[in-house]
Symmetry: C2
Subunit: 282 residues, 2 copies
């Protein structure tokens, strides 16, 4: 496994690989890797000749009051996980190596990124699309794997790829949960034992809502969401949002809706967790 620290080294490697006809797979991460990330690497491993994992806590996707500084890091463990899962290259740039001091170019998706997490994190997705565009240009992937845990991010990235004609196939990897249902997240490490246990209400209420929508359709979805919010609040969560939106446009569902994203963001203590279900509608 090779480790690159600079954009120039990485891009030269990727260009050589591309020119010799190799299929390149990219797994972009912020490090502190868990079984969810491992599943992304496994998918890339099956589809690509060369698997590149990027590890970079991207400052431009964090708001001024968010957890950039305390975001967990463990490069040795990340290295081990990448080795075990057969990655060929790790790209781990220094914090200030990714952006020039006078950088002035953004890639911005202005529709899908404005709802759900985009409301409380207004600059988040602009940072995500910009850094992902940079990583695409540095690694020239044929495929890139993103987790369904970040369902809105996945839709925004797919839209960016379509709109800007990136020659990259975006592959969605299923959300990975603990046995008790908690969605894996690097941010789970912020949670106390009590908070961890309280946070189980998220997956439980999502499963219940999914069952109700699959049985009865979207008729009563507003009531279902109200009930979820009450249950979550009763368990000690502070709701940022719980919403069901059409995955085609992230607008409220209509009679034409075929699939909804039921998504939530909830604080337990100071930790903001997200979780979701993608539900087929009859």
């Amino acid at each position: 496994m090779e480790i690159f620290k600079t954009a120039a080294e990485l891009q030269k490697f990727a260009l050589d690989a591309k020119r010799s006809g190799k299929i390149i797979g990219l797994v972009p991460t912020m490090g502190y890797l868990h079984a969810g990330h491992a599943s992304l690497i496994d998918i890339a491993r099956k589809k690509a000749d060369i698997v590149i994992v990027s590890i970079f806590v991207n400052p431009t996707q964090f708001g001024p009051t968010e957890d950039l500084d305390k975001y967990p890091r463990d490069f040795e463990h990340d290295l081990e996980l990448c080795t075990q899962h057969g990655a060929d290259v790790i790209y781990a740039p220094a914090p200030d190596a990714m952006y020039e001091a006078d950088a002035s170019t953004w890639v911005e998706e202005v529709k899908l990124s404005k709802v759900l997490c985009g409301v409380s994190r207004p600059i988040h997705f602009r940072g995500v699309t910009t850094v992902v565009a940079k990583l695409f240009n540095l690694t020239l992937p044929d495929i890139a794997v993103f987790g369904e845990k970040d369902a809105q991010q996945l839709l925004v990235i797919k839209r960016m790829v379509r709109d800007l004609n990136f020659p990259v196939e975006i592959i969605a990897a299923p959300l990975v949960r603990q046995n008790d249902g908690l969605a894996l997240s690097s941010r789970n490490r912020y949670l106390s034992e009590t908070e961890k246990s309280n946070a189980l209400v998220l997956s439980q209420s999502l499963y219940a809502a999914r069952g109700a929508i699959e049985s009865h359709g979207l008729e009563g979805v507003d009531l279902i969401i109200e009930a979820m919010k009450e249950k979550i609040t009763a368990a000690g969560g502070r709701v940022d949002y719980v919403e069901a939106l059409d995955t085609a446009n992230l607008e409220p569902p209509t009679a034409e809706t075929k699939e909804v994203l039921l998504a939530l963001a909830v604080f337990f203590g100071t930790t903001r967790l997200i979780d979701n279900q993608i539900i087929q509608v009859k």
Copy 2:
């Protein structure tokens, strides 16, 4: 020579070429090609195995009151010029084939694009950077050639390439003029004979100013610019701007400035012309 009308055909061709190690050169144009464009194709021809010329009047870089509808088109003549200069591929998408109806992703440079033409054409450069990013992703060029006639565009594109890590070398091609000094532009065809003759004041006043700055430095640059404006106005031009800015950041020159862009935009009748000189400062 091959002509592609759809993004899918073009991108497949480019990917195949890239994977077989070919060096790809791109010349992005809006068609109605003249000797200035031909010089860009000649440069690409010398440096690349495969030369792709795109011909697309990009709607997103025109403001609502601008000349999108009347912008001149002559595909047969463009075809002939591209053939004569040895282009391998023309990409000529239909007007509505380049953007999805619900496109929602922009590439935006937010510093260099805000001055000069960016003041009177506030959405222009966002359209340019977005379409050029799309063309880069569709043609996967190793080099791309842009004319110095559009000096600000060149700086904005170079900044975008740097900031987003596009694996593309941007080559600047010298501005091409008529024998009488008028900078070649597809928009010259809008000019009456009188306007064409009056517009010679642009290159003449730029040359005079260049001489003065090269002899005396930037001390008296404000007076030089005032004199240019008076001369241009006296010749029947309506000045949008005449400015001298540091090419490093498009800010007013300082004691550290090594190179200035002396640029102007002037209306003759309803036709807006641009011209410039890039001047080394002692």
